[in-house]
Assembly symmetry: C2
Homo-oligomer: 296 residues x 2
């Protein structure tokens, strides 16, 4: 197994360490912990935007050391999904991480994460049978398994996940609780472009026209939030209005629009309490997701 | 959640702690680790015999503290199996553990291990599709999940498993490796009665006649070992001889007899190297397993 540590100079921090080997990463983290340091982990697939940087800053505020993992995890992509075309730029990412005050960047290789003979999977019974899980049936088992591996390798005190991937956040919280993992899961708000589009590495795949069209996700969510706070309690009515906004935008194809219980992700037909509205829309060939809290 | 710690006096150790709450157990173990202690875990379903005690002694030799968990895990029993009748005697177990020099006995309640909403499962793709997994299709997912929970709760440096449950041992080793769990898995040899019957809590369910009949498992394995070391390399021939020995014993019903690769558990038709012979036999209504190394 490669045992490769590169050191990069930085103005902000003395060094940033780039570790490729899982064993090396685990030993490094154990050394830090034994020395009394606290470790925050930000698991990512790289191609950083301000959303990622906000997670790193949150880690910085929580712990004395921040580790960021960059791993485009093959097992969470379906056979017809964008694993091969998912954007990657490690050099740029390392610079951005260094500027954000990150101490360690962990960049494991797929062959070290999934060596010959690998055969273990973590799956959840109910949470993945909603929202994105309906069109991506193997996605959350891939996420749960790789996050468990990353947590066991990096052994952080806390791990930070963005609220944009809301279903992922609920899956990870449930898994951590169910398996008694000794880590605090911290969520962070969705970071948006000036016009409201949720930041995503996949946004770079949008043409100028599609980028304009993609704003409909945010507009639909805002409209829904206003309807809910204005007294509309029928989810069907709220979803229909959102559907109309998205359908009116060019090059959109709705995967789902749902109003769900924030913990169980079960559909809520009536807004009897706070709910999470979530949606997935293909814009051009790019699949975008977003979500928002609806408060009656 | 109950936070119940009982202290028992002992001649051998000052105290033995009995902890019921998973949170309490996790905190206790973290305190021990922070104080520089090393922790060995012996996961059990209780009703101790000398096999269990040998695992505790092995833990004692490895680490400064030994924790034993006693949990008859409902999720590893099939619907028609012996969960309800599995023998239990906590008072006796606590005394035996104390005499064996155990420091902590962890006795979680099923409702704390599997609270409302629990939905996470760890499964392996290939190893469970052999031997016991064929007639107990949900068993090893139950084992893998509960062992992960116990490891995350107790956070031991090492965990000790008996070689009698050979398939369980291979499943746990594979899972620990696949998920990068930071624990050393140590195996310990099968402890046998004077006549060779592998010790098992289930042996107490045998009548006197069945107890005599049960010896056929060991006799079949011994015969197979002799055939292998004597130059017989055809597994079919070895299995047929074992089958004859077992069938000749009264009240026996064979679940399986197999000669397998020690790592993958794939059938080995020819003894081209060391192999593991494993068998499961119902004696009366009691399902017994045993295994042995065959060296050509």
């Amino acid at each position: 197994m490669a045992n490769q540590i590169k050191k990069f100079n930085s103005k902000e921090r003395t060094t940033i360490e780039c570790i490729q080997s899982p064993d090396e990463m685990q030993n490094h983290s154990k050394t830090l912990r034994a020395a009394g340091e606290t470790v925050a982990l930000v698991p990512t697939m790289g191609y950083f935007h301000e959303g990622h940087l906000s997670l790193m800053h949150k880690g910085r505020a929580q712990c004395s050391r921040v580790a960021v993992s960059i791993f485009v995890n093959p097992t969470q992509f379906g056979p017809n999904e964008d694993f091969k075309t998912y954007p990657r730029d490690l050099t740029r990412d390392l610079n951005l991480a260094r500027e954000a005050g990150v101490d360690i960047v962990f960049t494991p290789r797929a062959e070290d994460m999934y060596p010959a003979g690998f055969q273990t999977e973590i799956s959840l019974q109910r949470l993945p049978k909603h929202l994105c899980g309906l069109s991506r049936p193997t996605h959350f088992a891939g996420v749960a398994t790789v996050v468990t591996k990353l947590l066991n390798i990096v052994q952080p005190h806390c791990a930070i996940f963005g609220r944009k991937d809301y279903q992922q956040l609920t899956v990870i919280r449930q898994m951590v609780s169910d398996l008694n993992m000794d880590v605090t899961i911290i969520d962070a708000p969705t970071v948006r472009e000036a016009d409201g589009l949720a930041m995503s590495s996949r946004n770079t795949g949008l043409s100028a026209g599609q980028r304009h069209s993609a704003l409909c996700l945010y507009q639909a969510l805002l409209h829904a939030r206003n309807m809910a706070s204005g007294g509309v309690s029928d989810s069907g009515e709220i979803i229909a209005a959102a559907r109309e906004i998205i359908t009116a935008a060019p090059e959109t194809e709705i995967d789902y629009i749902a109003v769900v219980d924030p913990q169980t992700l079960d559909d809520m037909s009536q807004l009897v309490g706070p709910a999470r509205m979530a949606l997935a829309v293909q814009v051009g060939g790019v699949r975008l997701i977003d979500n928002m809290l609806l408060t009656p």
